[in-house]
């Protein structure tokens, strides 16, 4: 692989006395799809604006395609942005919108026209839309026009600032699929900002999870899901259970004990231990789908918690149970395969079992 297309090191951004980014380092490979994820205010949009050239970093180094970007205005960067609210020019037709970057590059009219046409085909937009104004198109169509405008000048990097947050769920799904296909087809690097980790997992090759101006974890979707750096990352995707434990590191991994299950101790293999493990607030991450009701004897090594069914939700393919366990602050969430006969009713006393060796050990 050639060098990274974006190489950002120790990017710091201050707004007055408030620090929005605390030394963020990030590399994006050529043709890679990277997602920046985090709750609102985590600095992901600020980082994107710095990449695009709308904001100057207070400190740090940013190289795009091997060139230092300090003082380079947005207009001269090899990046193109798709805005959250799309920012299509309302007074220009679809053709003028898509062809705008080419017009600025003084591309010949005939060539510009054919490239606009090609983008239209790529985005599955009808040719008769060329003379329409953005306001005359539907939300999904506007989205495609915005993508077409950003891609027509064949940028090195495409930056996407939550472009799908305003769409309804169904349209969002189909556009996500199209975006992934598009990325595969054109081979441009994509950097997507989103607050939706599920969207990021579906689309991205790598995910960068951010929190209050820091990068918490960068990794593949599988890394983020199965090997989260800490409870923040783990809690960011869907519902999970955290069982407070005491851990001692060993050569093969760690030994954990829990106050809720007296006398029991379990060996956690090294690959199930977070590399960022610290002494404070260690917990076992138990995914809802890896729990079961224990009726009869527990299997070997299984940990069992006694509780009471608080509520259940039938989701079709699966049934979700929430079990109140004495000593745990939050209800234990279980995802069981759906069945005709419900395994337990509300208020019923149940035993929840899981294999601690399959769980993941992390800290706050």
């Amino acid at each position: 692989m050639v060098g990274p297309i974006i190489d950002a090191a120790d990017i710091v951004k201050d707004y007055g006395s408030a620090r929005a980014l605390h030394g963020v380092s990030l590399e994006v490979g050529a043709g890679e799809f990277l997602a920046l994820v985090g709750p609102s205010g985590c600095g992901k949009t600020t980082l994107l604006k710095i990449l695009a050239g709308f904001e100057e970093p207070t400190g740090g180094r940013l190289e795009i395609q091997g060139k230092d970007m300090r003082g380079v205005p947005a207009a001269n960067r090899p990046t193109r942005m798709v805005f959250q609210k799309l920012a299509l020019f309302p007074h220009k037709t679809v053709a003028e919108n898509i062809g705008f970057p080419l017009k600025l590059q003084k591309v010949e009219k005939s060539e510009s026209d054919s490239r606009v046409r090609a983008m239209l085909d790529l985005m599955h937009l009808k040719p008769e839309y060329l003379d329409r104004y953005p306001a005359q198109l539907s939300g999904g169509e506007q989205q495609r026009v915005a993508l077409a405008r950003a891609l027509v000048s064949q940028p090195g990097v495409l930056l996407l600032d939550e472009p799908m947050s305003a769409l309804d769920a169904k349209l969002k799904k189909s556009l996500q699929a199209e975006l992934k296909k598009l990325h595969r087809e054109i081979g441009t690097s994509f950097v997507l900002v989103t607050h939706d980790l599920e969207e990021a997992m579906m689309l991205a090759d790598r995910i960068c999870v951010m929190r209050s101006g820091h990068v918490v974890q960068i990794g593949t979707p599988a890394d983020i899901y199965y090997r989260p750096a800490n409870m923040f990352v783990a809690g960011f995707i869907g519902e999970t259970n955290f069982l407070p434990v005491t851990a001692t590191k060993t050569a093969a991994g760690a030994t954990v004990t829990s106050a809720l299950i007296p006398g029991a101790s379990a060996e956690i293999p090294a690959e199930h231990v977070s590399p960022a493990l610290s002494a404070a607030g260690t917990a076992l991450l138990v995914r809802p789908e890896s729990t079961r009701f224990v009726k009869g004897d527990a299997t070997s090594g299984e940990w069992v918690l006694d509780g009471e069914v608080e509520e259940y939700f039938i989701k079709g393919a699966s049934t979700q149970y929430r079990i109140r366990v004495a000593g745990l602050p939050a209800a234990v969430v279980m995802d069981l395969p759906g069945s005709i006969v419900l395994p337990a009713r509300v208020g019923e006393k149940v035993r929840v079992g899981f294999q601690p060796a399959h769980a993941f050990l992390l800290s706050e």
């Binding site: 695009a52 050239g53 709308f54 205005p73 207009a75 193109r80 920012a87 104004y133």
Partner: protein, 291 residues
């Protein structure tokens, strides 16, 4: 929201529309109609007589003197519009983009100046423009020959007063359309590779057109009727239409002539507006609102 289809005989509808309709009929249509009727009468010995002829119109159309004044009025109005827009646009742009912190204070100051009585302000300009006034005094002190400017009682003096009194309108209409432009559109233009200047001409200027046009129309209509400035600052050396109409009514007590000239002025104004609206609307038909 459902759009209700109502019969025009609906009593509630009539009751809600009636007050405005009555005001328009009584205070706008009736005087206009009376003015039109006046033109077909004649005055003799300072009294109106109810004759029905079009004699006055032959006079209006045969005397070039009136048309010189009408043409001068339109010319002054056009120049006034251009100057107002040229001054107001940068000021509004600065308020909308650069001076956001002080924008409230600036607006309050402008509104204060705007609400000060126009007569006072116009007379104030005499102090500045007079041969021995502030302007010449300042110019002399920075090394220019004494009494360099001789603007008072000239069309230039009239123009200064008109621009000063009217520039606030386009300043606010342009400001309002500038602040409505989504900042992302400007960023999108930069991102697409446009320079600041290019972005201004490709995005900011076209999107601020509504404010620009409505400001220009306001200034044009108001300056057609400019009365105070040509009297006070123009000194009556080159009268404009309003002065001519006043003279016809008051000095010459020729009401039919005054009425006819009034209609001519209204017609010129309406025609100019119709032509400019047609020219600007033709460019972009059925363009939806901003997405």
């Amino acid at each position: 929201m459902q759009i209700e289809q109502k019969s025009w005989k609906d009593p509630v509808l009539i009751a809600t529309v009636a007050p405005l309709a009555i005001v328009m009929v009584v205070f706008f249509l009736t005087p206009l109609l009376m003015t039109a009727v006046r033109t077909s009468q004649t005055t003799q010995y300072y009294r109106l007589s109810w004759t029905w002829n079009l004699k006055i119109w032959t006079e209006v159309f045969s005397k070039p003197h009136y048309w010189t004044i009408m043409l001068r009025t339109v010319g002054m109005a056009v120049v006034c519009v251009l100057l107002c827009v040229l001054i107001a646009y940068p000021a509004a742009y600065a308020m909308a983009t650069r001076l956001k912190t002080y924008k409230t204070q600036i607006q309050i100051l402008i509104i204060f100046a705007f609400l000060t009585d126009a007569v006072l302000k116009t007379f104030g300009w005499i102090l500045i423009l007079d041969k021995n006034g502030v302007a010449n005094w300042l110019l002399m002190h920075v090394g220019f020959p004494p009494e360099m400017l001789n603007l008072l009682f000239s069309p230039a003096g009239t123009m200064i007063g008109m621009v000063y009194n009217l520039v606030t309108y386009p300043m606010f209409t342009i400001y309002l359309s500038l602040v409505r432009i989504d900042r992302d559109l400007v960023l999108a233009a930069y991102d697409a590779g446009a320079s600041r200047l290019r972005t201004f001409f490709e995005v900011t200027l076209p999107l601020s057109r509504p404010g620009l046009y409505s400001g220009a129309v306001l200034v044009f209509v108001l300056s057609l009727g400019a009365f105070l400035e040509p009297r006070v600052l123009g000194g009556g050396t080159s009268p404009l239409a309003s002065e001519l109409i006043r003279q016809s009514f008051e000095t010459r007590v020729n009401w039919p002539l005054g009425a006819a000239l009034t209609l001519v002025l209204i017609a010129i104004g309406a025609l100019t507006l119709a032509v400019s609206v047609a020219l600007t609307m033709r460019r972009r038909p059925n363009q939806g609102s901003a997405a």
